[in-house]
Each structure stands twice: as structure tokens, then as C-alpha cells.
Symmetry: C2
Subunit: 230 residues, 2 copies
DNA sequence: ACAAAAGTGTTGCTTCTACACCCATGC
DNA sequence: GCATGGGTGTAGAAGCAACACTTTTGT
């Protein structure tokens, strides 16, 4: 039950910064409360050790399921953090991922899990364990940058959404207001959205039309040199 | 002289994709010839094991010096490769970096080193060890993407360069021709270049004016919301 | 009828693209 | 004097930013 190597090896972990957007357009991150030292009882990113027989992304997905119940989320590698002192016990290198989930559909799922997990607004995060604050900062920067030139924002919305929801999403992430008419013109001209014959329900005002993002169309346009840009 | 852990740990390495641009505007990568199994005698990216007391970037820089003699190069983390079968002997996770060097000045230095190192044109790479082809591909994609919205291209040029050299650099990396007048207008309007009172020497035609990139100006403009873009 | 958000066009301005000729230098 | 690349301006097209009112629906 022990593994011996000629040279010392850092431990290898994965950590996930999972973003969600709630009904009030607050950008949130999923955290878990640690029940082990160090940083016992502090909030931390979901994550854990990479097993010897699994790839990094597999490890990240496994930890997400185990710790938060989230499955099939959009997940991309963010950065690898390897300073020597980031874990007080041991040399631990962590490969960080960022994820995007649709909070409208996933909220209940995550809540049913055994571990103490919670969504926190990014503007109002508790102190985090290890260097997780730095990881979150980098994830935010990456999200802000990437959302402008890749159509990943749709991962944060339900499959069918209104143009106003989409606009609010960009306004929240980019932290700037956008002009309604210009936004709609721009996004519709790209031809990436499918206009549905369905409308919002349960709102006390004129119901907005629903749209769906078409990843297939995007792949095709991209092959022809099209560049998404907000 | 042995290190024992409760759970098995992947080995951790770093690898560097170092780009250089030669006098004929060929984009090149620095490779070393392996003298150990596996992949003995094959070409590979410079790199090696991360020591327990050094950070990832420190390890990358150390390996670069040891294996190629290159020092003080621009270096940025690229991606971490961790599939289980990427090394036939053992589970090895590698953190890849990409680097940019000024070939005009560094060419001799690298050549003086003991190991068998060589610059290869990216269009004409030999077969590479491990998954290094994939790493190189990703580095190329990243370089192509990043060079457009961050002024990193200057790292590939001598400190003093002509606008034509700069234009050729972009044409090479982006793999597209650019209009001379439009390019010059655009780049000069950004106010990032310092016009020198010096000119090319040793050319058999009108000597071109030399310019220098001003990183200080760039930092200032960036703080004020300026975005570099080619 | 009122409140709340949906939906829709035009104009001026800026930026981008396309394009051709004279200039300076070394041989 | 010729070959080589250096250096420069303009016009038309496209894209961007700014801006306000009517429509629909629920209460």
C-alpha cells in the first residue's frame, strides 16, 4: 500500500471554478466547505487528487460529480498553479479548470448533494482556502476575455432564452452596459441563433420571443473563417 | 534515496516550445535530440522533471538553460497535458510553456551548448517524441491567436527593428499578407513604437528607419482601456 | 388605464480596405 | 542608371455608436 520513487514527486490535484448565472443575473461560483485540515471549515473550490489511471479532465469531472453532483458541465482547462508554498503540508501542483453551468436547471441538483456546497456571488466571496482566490481571479479574467470571442456564454443560459437574457449575461460578465438595439442587430446578424415560435411565459408584461443557439451553425461558419465577436 | 507516498503520483515535467524567427522570416522551433530511451535519438521539446523545490516556471527556465543555453526568454504557460498514455513508461503529466526569442541575437548562444540542439522551421519539423507534435500544434495556435491582441511579437525581433520586419513577422505568424500602408498606419497610430533616429545599415537599397517597442507606454495605455489589435 | 418590458431604423462618424507612385541608396 | 525596397495619401464601403417611440401583455 505504498508507492516509492527515486525522486520526490509533487502531488497533483485538479480544482474547478464553476460559474453560474442566477435569475437576477448575478454571476456565481460554486464552493464547498472543507471538512479536513488544512483550512478546515473554510470554503474552497471543488477538486481533489488526480488518480494514476485517469486523465486530468476526467479527474476534474469526477471530483465535480463527487463533491457537487454536477455532471456534463462545460469544462475547460484554465491554468496550472505550481508555486512551492501553495499548500502548507506538501508540494501540491493543481491543474485548474473553469466550468459554466446553467443555474436555472442545475440549481436543485447541486443542492441535493451530501457535501456542504453553495453558490456565492463573485462580488461576495468568502475567504478561500489555499491560493483559490488567485485561481478564481484568473478564471474571471479568462471568462471575461473568452466570452467576447467564443460563443461560450450560452452555456450559462437555459437552452431557450430571450435576447434580453443574453444581453444581460454579457453586461454582467463584461461589466458594461450594452445598447439594446445594437446588441440585437449584431447578435442576429451572426446567424447563430435559431428563432423559435415560442415565447416567455409567466411574465407580467409582453412575452419575449425565445431563441436557441445553434452550435452546428457555429462550427460551419468558423470553418469558413467567421469569427464570433461581441 | 527513495520517496514513498500512500498513493501513486504521476511524474511531473515541463516542456518548452521556443519560437524564433530567422532572417528569412521563417518561424522556427528549438528542438533537442534525445540521448535516452524512450524515443532515443528522436527530436523532442526541451524539458524535464520538475524538482520538488522549484516552481513550474522556474523548472521550465532551468531546463531551457541546461539543455539549450537560452536564458531570459519570454515564457508563458501554454497548457498541461495529462493523458495517461502520453509516456510509455510511466504516468507523466507535463506543463507546457511557449517561449519567444530573438533569433538574431540568440542564435550563436544556443549553438554553443553541449547537447544536440537545432532550430527547425515549423513547416518542416522532424517526427517528435511523445505527444510533442500536439504540444507544438497547440503552441502555434496560441501564438497565432495571441499575437493579434497582445504585443508579444516584438519578442521575436531585435530591439531595434524596421516596420517591414514587423510586418513580415505578422504575415508569417498569421499566414496572411498585409497591406503595407494600412499596416504602418495602424501600428503607428497605436503610439507604442518609438521612432529612432537610426537607420538600417548594410543593405543595398534605401535604409529603413528603426523603431523600438515601448512596453512602458503599452502598460499605461492598457490601464486606460486600450486594446492592442492587429 | 397603467406598468413593464419587447421590439424596431436611421443618421453621422469612425474605421477599414483597396490601391500606385516617387524616393533614397548601393552597386 | 538601374535594381531594390522605403515611404506616403485618398476615396469609397462597411461597420459602429447614439438615440426614442410604439407594441404587447398582465394586473
Amino acid at each position: 500500500m505504498a508507492y516509492t520513487y527515486e525522486f520526490p514527486r509533487p502531488a497533483l490535484t485538479v480544482d474547478c471554478v464553476v460559474f453560474g448565472l442566477d435569475e437576477e443575473n448575478l454571476l456565481k461560483i460554486l464552493l464547498i466547505q472543507r471538512n479536513l485540515a488544512p483550512f478546515e471549515n473554510q470554503w474552497a473550490l471543488p477538486g481533489g487528487f488526480v488518480r494514476i489511471e485517469e486523465s486530468l479532465e476526467t479527474a476534474a469531472r469526477r471530483e465535480l460529480v463527487e463533491e457537487t453532483g454536477l455532471e456534463n458541465v462545460f469544462l475547460e482547462q484554465l491554468y496550472t498553479f505550481g508555486s512551492c508554498d501553495r499548500d502548507p503540508r506538501d508540494r501540491v501542483v493543481t491543474v485548474a479548470y473553469y466550468g459554466l453551468v446553467n443555474l436555472w436547471e442545475y440549481r436543485l441538483k447541486a443542492a441535493t448533494d451530501a457535501r456542504d456546497t453553495r453558490w456565492f456571488a463573485v462580488a461576495d466571496l468568502p475567504p478561500l482556502a489555499f491560493d483559490h482566490e488567485a485561481i478564481v481571479q484568473l478564471a474571471l479574467t479568462r471568462l471575461k476575455g473568452k466570452v467576447r470571442y467564443e460563443p461560450i456564454g450560452f452555456e450559462l443560459l437555459p437552452e431557450k432564452f430571450t435576447l434580453t437574457q443574453l444581453q444581460r449575461l454579457y453586461e454582467t460578465i463584461l461589466e458594461q452596459e450594452l445598447d439594446k438595439r445594437n446588441f440585437r442587430k449584431k447578435i442576429l446578424k451572426m446567424n447563430l441563433l435559431i428563432q423559435l415560435d415560442e415565447y416567455q411565459t409567466g411574465v407580467s408584461h409582453r412575452a419575449a420571443r425565445l431563441y436557441r443557439f445553434d452550435p452546428e451553425k457555429y462550427r460551419n461558419l468558423k470553418k469558413k473563417g467567421f469569427n464570433f465577436e461581441i
